[in-house]
């Protein structure tokens, strides 16, 4: 049985430079890096020191609060550097890859017969646990808890997002294995969504509740789908896994070996030939960026999509959860009378001498200019047009800004993740940092209430 989701409120941001559906193998990266910023709220405890040799799948550090939760190396090699920041906080762990790749091999687990505890212990030990995230709070899931449901969004509506139908092709076995394992961990359902017109391998999986999704962005965000299917109440817990991470979990379950291999879309108007690259988590972005070429001097490399991704550099590294690298021009330039002249080359949600509403399917070449300065909230009623959840976005943002815990709870902060506010941040006339506000609100709520 499938329950369809149709989203009406939203805005598609069509950008130039979508990745072509062809795949190249990226050259091997010399150094692989794990960026600790990818694991929000995790305090790492190192198991290995600088200079130690690691194998692929060998644990490098664990979560200080949950000691069973291991984080493993994507490659085998030598830990060459542990980059530390203020108060010796670990920022990055760099691994110099060996020529020969040694993999830690685990005993295969018979998922059919295994108990819930067995599956959990197996994934924790194997380093696949961090792929499972939880809502509320949008952090790596706590293995001690039991979620009421698990959500997988196989419909990517974010700007220039990797096409799941393409990248999941031929991965049915892995997906099915991962779903079977996840099914052990919740008494509820595993909700999987696919695009309405797509041809996704996810649709044929067993043991799931399938949802066909249509509509503009943020229809593909898992937060939107949770809100429409089974919203989170106070005290409830759901888990979220991205389809490509399901593949890695499935691969590990089938072979007993941790694999960090991932098909990554390289997209954006600065890239000469945007397409897909087969590479590994933590690989240097330059290993495939310059294979496609850039047509600009001054550009920004983003780990992820333009709305939710994190700023990186050409010599930066592929993030732990990212399957997309976007490269767009920097916009650090002045524009004469930019605030009052008619605008044809930028996207807008209003029609105040902006004309993007005339051609909803036109593709734009946006840069990183803020198009205005930061101001207090003034205009109302705009966010609601692109925010499909049953939540008052501006009121919730204000509650987070004044740190009013009661109001944050009542207005539905448990139901959202920062990425759910990416679209309202994009259209915000006052140029407020919505995602940051929500992130700080969630952190506060987790700290105070847990």
């Amino acid at each position: 049985m499938s329950k369809d989701i149709r989203i009406k409120k939203g805005l598609n941001i069509n950008l130039v430079g979508a990745a072509e559906l062809t795949t190249s193998k990226a050259v091997l990266s010399n150094v692989y890096t794990i960026n600790l910023d990818d694991f929000h709220g995790i305090i790492p405890k190192l198991l290995l020191k600088e200079g130690a040799e690691v194998k692929t799948g060998e644990a490098i550090f664990y979560n200080k609060n949950i000691e069973d939760m291991h984080f493993v190396s994507p490659v085998s090699g030598e830990i060459v550097e542990i980059v530390r920041g203020a108060r010796r906080r670990i920022l990055e762990i760099k691994i110099l890859a060996d020529k020969s790749q040694d993999v830690v091999e685990h005993k295969k687990l018979d998922v059919e017969k295994a108990s819930k505890e067995d599956v959990k212990a197996y994934l924790l030990k194997g380093g696949c646990w961090p792929f499972i995230k939880q809502r509320p709070y949008d952090v790596v899931a706590n293995p001690d808890a039991t979620p009421k449901a698990i959500f997988v969004s196989g419909y990517a509506s974010a700007p220039l997002a990797a096409d799941y139908d393409y990248v999941l092709k031929g991965k049915e076995a892995q997906l099915q294995a991962a779903i079977a394992a996840l099914g052990k961990m919740t008494p509820g359902k595993i909700h999987v969504s696919v695009g309405k017109d797509g041809n996704s391998p996810l649709a044929a999986l067993k043991g799931i509740e399938l949802h066909k999704v249509s509509g503009p962005h943020p229809a593909g965000l898992v937060g939107t789908q949770i809100n429409k299917i089974d919203p989170i109440n106070k005290g409830e817990l759901v888990w979220v896994v991205s389809p490509q991470d399901l593949v890695l979990i499935g691969e590990f379950l089938l072979t007993g070996k941790f694999s960090a291999e991932r098909l990554v879309a390289l997209a954006g108007s600065t890239v000469k030939t945007p397409k897909y690259y087969l590479t590994k988590i933590g690989a240097e972005i330059s290993t495939f960026l310059y294979a496609s070429g850039v047509n600009e001097e001054n550009f920004r490399v983003i780990n992820g999509d333009v709305l939710t991704g994190s700023k990186s550099r050409p010599d930066g590294y592929l993030g732990y959860y990212n399957n997309l690298v976007t490269v767009i021009p920097e916009g650090d330039d002045y524009e004469l009378f930019g605030w009052n002249k008619p605008v044809f080359n930028k996207i807008s949600n209003t029609r105040a001498l902006t004309f993007s509403w005339l051609q909803p399917n036109k593709k734009y070449d946006l840069n990183t200019n803020t198009n205005g300065e930061h101001r207090a909230f003034v205009v109302t009623g705009q966010y609601e047009q692109v925010f499909p959840m049953d939540i008052y976005p501006m009121q919730l943002l204000k509650a987070c800004m004044v740190k009013d815990l009661d109001e944050m709870e009542q207005l539905g902060l448990y139901e959202v993740a920062p990425e759910d506010f990416s679209l309202t941040e994009f259209i915000c006339i006052s140029k407020q940092p919505h995602q940051k506000i929500i992130r700080e609100g969630l952190d506060l709520l987790q700290k105070e209430i847990g």
Partner: protein, 416 residues
């Protein structure tokens, strides 16, 4: 320019200088964290759109200022003139009166208001905000033409400081600053704000003299039960060839401005539509009261009560208030459902105050200020609805125990 901006960076006068710079250029600021791209519009563009909607009204009001002046002179001489758009309305003479009377109001409004904004920006070290761009344009359009400039300057200082800056600037204020300025004028200098002498250029100066002129507003006529003496047709009212506050008269241009704001998605159509409905409902109720015979012609309310309900929209400041004042997003209701309620009551109360206020037959600015105060309350109850829905859902919440909870209990059993 760019070099100068860098030179002043971090100095005390930086906000003042930055304001000029950002007037010319969009800044070279790029995104840090959060979304890496941003939509094209900012607050300046939003404000600018409202100003564009007001410009035709300003130009019309400049012609009308002259037209009302010469028409009043003709009337005083006993030769009422008939309107002809090209022969005696769009004339250089009329426009000249506009230049010497309306333009100074505009200049003083912007000059004083922006000066206050700059001073506050420098003191508080924040950027000069765009809010006053619209307020400064609205103010000259909602005062009587003969308002002395010093009076306007005092009111603007009061309105910007008390109405806005004490709350923290644009976006933080509770009351609409333009209406705060109007209210200040009304309560501080009532004789200059009402009566039959203030709506026409020089009427006050010439009062009592041999060449005295007057220009009573339609509301003034009606409030004194002298509706029959009025010489204005419905089309005069609609197109705006009537005396009144500088920019409030032309319902046609206000309607066009309102449609433009709705089309650009800058102003809320919900507030505009519900305010129109609210005023029609109140007008209809009054008409009904008259039809039922509960109010006789001798009553002092008869004139306004018996006035056709739909005509309320095309006289006085109601249309202008609904389109440009009620839709102020900062001081109005912020939720969509709240906007319906908020707008409805603005229309409803405006007409009510109009009819029942014997001293000054216009209630729009009072109604909007009143609803400004109540807007947060309305929003509160609308948001409560959402919260209640969430609470209801909470009863069915599936809260599953943690794995370790079970273990902990087992351990306890052992120790006992």
């Amino acid at each position: 320019m760019h070099e100068l901006k860098l030179k002043y960076q971090g100095k005390k006068m930086a906000p003042a200088f930055n304001a000029f710079h950002t007037f010319l250029f969009t800044p070279n600021e790029t995104t840090h964290g959060g979304t890496h791209v941003k939509a094209a519009d900012d607050l300046k563009r939003t404000m600018n759109t409202v100003i564009m909607a007001l410009v035709p009204i300003l130009i019309f009001s400049m012609f009308n200022a002259g037209y009302q002046y010469y028409a009043a002179i003709d009337a005083a001489n006993g030769t009422p003139r008939t309107l002809s758009l090209f022969e005696n309305f769009l004339t250089w003479d009329n426009f000249w009166i506009g230049i010497i009377k309306v333009l100074p109001l505009l200049v003083v409004s912007y000059g004083v208001g922006l000066l206050v904004e700059f001073i506050f920006a420098v003191i508080k070290g924040h950027e000069v905000e765009e809010g006053y761009l619209v307020t400064g344009m609205l103010v000259p359009l909602i005062v009587p033409i003969d308002t002395p400039l010093w009076m306007l300057a005092v009111a603007v200082v009061f309105g910007v400081v008390i109405g806005k800056e004490v709350f923290g600037g644009t976006g933080m204020n509770i009351l609409n600053p333009a209406l705060t300025i109007r209210a200040f004028l009304f309560f501080a200098y009532p004789t200059w704000m009402s009566g039959d002498k203030v709506w026409v250029y020089q009427a006050v100066e010439k009062a009592g003299g041999p060449d005295a002129i007057s220009g009573e507003t339609i509301l003034g006529f009606l409030a004194q039960n002298k509706g029959s003496e009025m010489a204005y047709s419905v089309s005069d009212m609609f197109f705006g060839f009537i005396p009144g506050s500088v920019g409030e008269t032309s319902t046609l241009l206000i309607l066009l401005g309102g449609l433009f704001l709705i089309y650009t998605k800058i102003a809320s159509w919900r507030i505009m539509l519900s305010a129109v409905i609210g005023s029609l409902v109140m007008g209809l109720i009054f008409n009904q009261v008259v039809d039922m015979g509960w109010v006789t012609e001798t009553s002092k309310f008869y004139g306004l009560m018996s006035f056709d309900f739909w005509k309320h929209l095309i006289i006085g400041g109601l249309a202008f208030g609904i389109v440009f004042m009620a839709t102020d997003p900062v001081t109005g209701a912020q939720t969509n459902r709240g906007k319906w309620i908020y707008g409805f009551f603005i229309g409803f109360i405006s007409v009510m105050i109009r009819v029942f206020n014997p001293a000054y037959p216009e209630g729009v600015f009072l109604a909007i200020l009143l609803m400004n105060v109540f807007a947060p309350t309305i929003d509160h109850y609308v948001v409560q609805g959402n919260i209640k829905r969430r609470m209801k859902r909470l009863k069915n919440a599936v809260i599953l125990p943690k794995d370790s909870d079970g273990k902990a209990e087992e351990l306890k059993a052992e120790t006992v």
